[in-house]
Symmetry: C2
Subunit: 348 residues, 2 copies
DNA sequence: CGGGCCAGCGTTACCGCTAACAAATCGGCC
DNA sequence: GGCCGATTTGTTAGCGGTAACGCTGGCCCG
């Protein structure tokens, strides 16, 4: 009398699949994973059994048996909420595939000590690797702490990552260059630029891209007014006011992110300038803000979710050496999104 | 010669703690969990050992052994990104504590068939429970599908949930009532209201709250102009234009969410009206948008992350009967956030 | 004073899967 | 045909934790 073990959960296991396919559990495991050294006929039989039983492996058991990393940290400060949600979506998708948990930790403070403190939270909870989205990818307090604890990390969306570090990014330089060319193509010859926060290397890269496009067009870079911003809406207001207060204001403003671009549009409206008829404004990032304003913003889209996925995958490859060596650096494709905030300059 | 098993990961296990505390592994487990039937002295010894060794339980092993639910689905459509990120933060925190995975699935379409399709994705991946943030909490196609598969779900932020269903929410009625009173206290007697999408019961609740406050103040409800909106920025533009086009436009606009309030501010600016001097505008939700606009928005904050945590916890209590019966319904506290978009009405 | 009961703790046997090793199978070549 | 190495498959022993049950000793009741 083989009464079913009272603890059995009734779910389909490798054993069931193995029996169905007429092989051993180990072979099923091999097929499900890499699948090395399994005869084609066998593999097909196993796959058929899997499909028939609608088997899906138990990730808890898998990571327990394989002794794999299961806790990946994600330290976030306050990038725009839109960025974070996209990022989490991508990271969660990858985490689920890999069967690992995402451990979030907020890092609100600006001071190095607070940042180090938040990082130590990870060390104590035995996180095996950490993902650093911007702007934390550039904070040395965080990185030093991880380094000291021997925890590998991957930085996301740095403008210019240091050699040899794990990182995923887009080409900020090329993107800014393309955006500038778009403005030039529309006929703008007098473009104001609002720089991003200097604590992030992407700010410098975006500005470099702007400069390169201007110079390539044979224009005088010195004639282009530049204001310092800090990626916040408020800083965008100040910078835009400064640009529009100039005796000869620009016909277009290129803000280094969407928040500051939105600020520029707001300032223009307050002054009775119509966007884009009187002033063109473009941003960078394509956050949700870009479409919850009026007119909708021409901007550059980063594949945020894909970057998060790539970051997690890269980190796991590092933690679970499976033979294949992945590139320590990945540059994903950006995309120029043309909307309504941008038009040819007004005729004089 | 007890060479350490070559597979040991070197991490601290219950066994280590048990040895340190001079008890058995099972006792450690009991202390770590509920802790029933353990003598106080023993518990303290175990806790001391845990602290000394900095032990943290392996969640993979735990859920494997306990046979607990490990995959919780979260079906999202496109609420504001700000909402989603807060929601995910809360859900992830709870998921980690419980040692379960969050499985995201996007549900973009509006058609019932698409929604059912997305839901079926969950059924196939053996998700044990589902969380439905707004607006999906109200979509019958989704709920029917889950019902059919026998998967429990919890709906979040419905205005008026059906009796007996698992749900977490705030009191939309009371919040809208409080917000309206705030406007009345400032001296407004002519307030325009922009309703939310009728496919969500919270829209009706918010409107009910508005009405209740107006009537309680002894004002004539019929004199308050009301426009239909759909929670989108664009619908807010249309509604605001209509309100401000009235021969006797209101001195304040209460929009049923922040996106529409932002639209109202945008429209006012276009017309040369200053906010809040000429027109007060208030919103609902306190999304990131509320502070990335100018002036910053007076609004109602929902404890989004806390609601997500509560939802997941509730679902797990349902799935892992631990004796204690949790309330199938939880109403969390909202908060009136007063910022700069609101002032006494202009003197005539 | 013996037996039943229960709090408190230990023992055993797994949960579902996979690393490591052992065994079996298959060609290829002398 | 038989031997050898490479490939394919099976077997065993856990990964770290917990459910179920067994054992102990004190307490109460008859």
């Amino acid at each position: 009398m083989t009464k079913p073990s009272r603890r059995s959960r009734g779910s389909i296991t490798v054993q069931d699949v193995a029996r169905e396919a007429g092989v051993s559990a180990m072979t099923v495991s091999r097929v499900v994973n890499g699948g090395t050294n399994v005869r084609e006929a066998t593999r097909e039989a196993v796959l058929a059994a899997i499909a028939k039983l609608n088997y899906s492996p138990n990730s808890a058991a898998r990571s327990l048996a394989a002794g794999e990393a299961t806790q990946i940290g994600l330290l976030y400060s306050n990038p725009s909420a839109a960025y974070l949600s996209q990022f989490l979506i991508g990271a969660l998708a990858a985490a689920r595939r890999a069967g690992c948990h995402l451990v979030l930790e907020a890092c609100e403070g600006e001071r190095a000590e607070e940042q180090a403190e938040a990082t130590r939270g990870f060390v104590q909870t035995h996180v095996q690797g950490v993902i650093l989205p911007p702007p934390l990818s550039e904070v040395t307090a965080v990185r030093d702490e991880l380094e000291a604890a021997g925890i590998p990390w991957v930085s996301v969306a740095m403008g210019l990552p240091p050699e040899g570090s794990l990182n995923v990014r887009i080409d900020d330089f090329a993107a800014a260059c393309a955006m500038t060319k778009h403005l030039l193509d529309m006929g703008h010859r007098h473009i104001g630029f609002i720089r991003g926060n200097p604590n992030q290397t992407s700010s410098a890269e975006r500005y470099r891209g702007f400069c390169a496009a201007i110079e390539e067009a044979g224009l005088d870079l010195a004639a282009m007014p530049v204001e310092q911003g800090y990626f916040t809406f408020r800083s965008g207001i100040v910078a835009s006011e400064a640009l529009l207060d100039l005796p000869d204001p620009p016909t277009a403003i290129f803000a280094s992110n969407d928040d500051m671009a939105a600020a520029a549009v707001g300032v223009a409206h307050r002054r009775g300038l119509h966007v884009p008829q009187d002033l063109s404004v473009v941003g960078f990032d394509d956050t949700a803000l870009a479409t919850t304003m009026w007119p909708e913003l021409t901007t550059v889209r980063q594949p945020i979710a894909a970057m998060a996925e790539a970051a997690l995958t890269m980190l796991l490859d590092e933690l679970r050496p499976r033979g294949q060596i992945t590139e320590p650096e990945q540059v994903l494709a950006h995309q120029l999104i043309v909307r309504e905030s941008c038009a040819p300059p007004p005729k004089r």
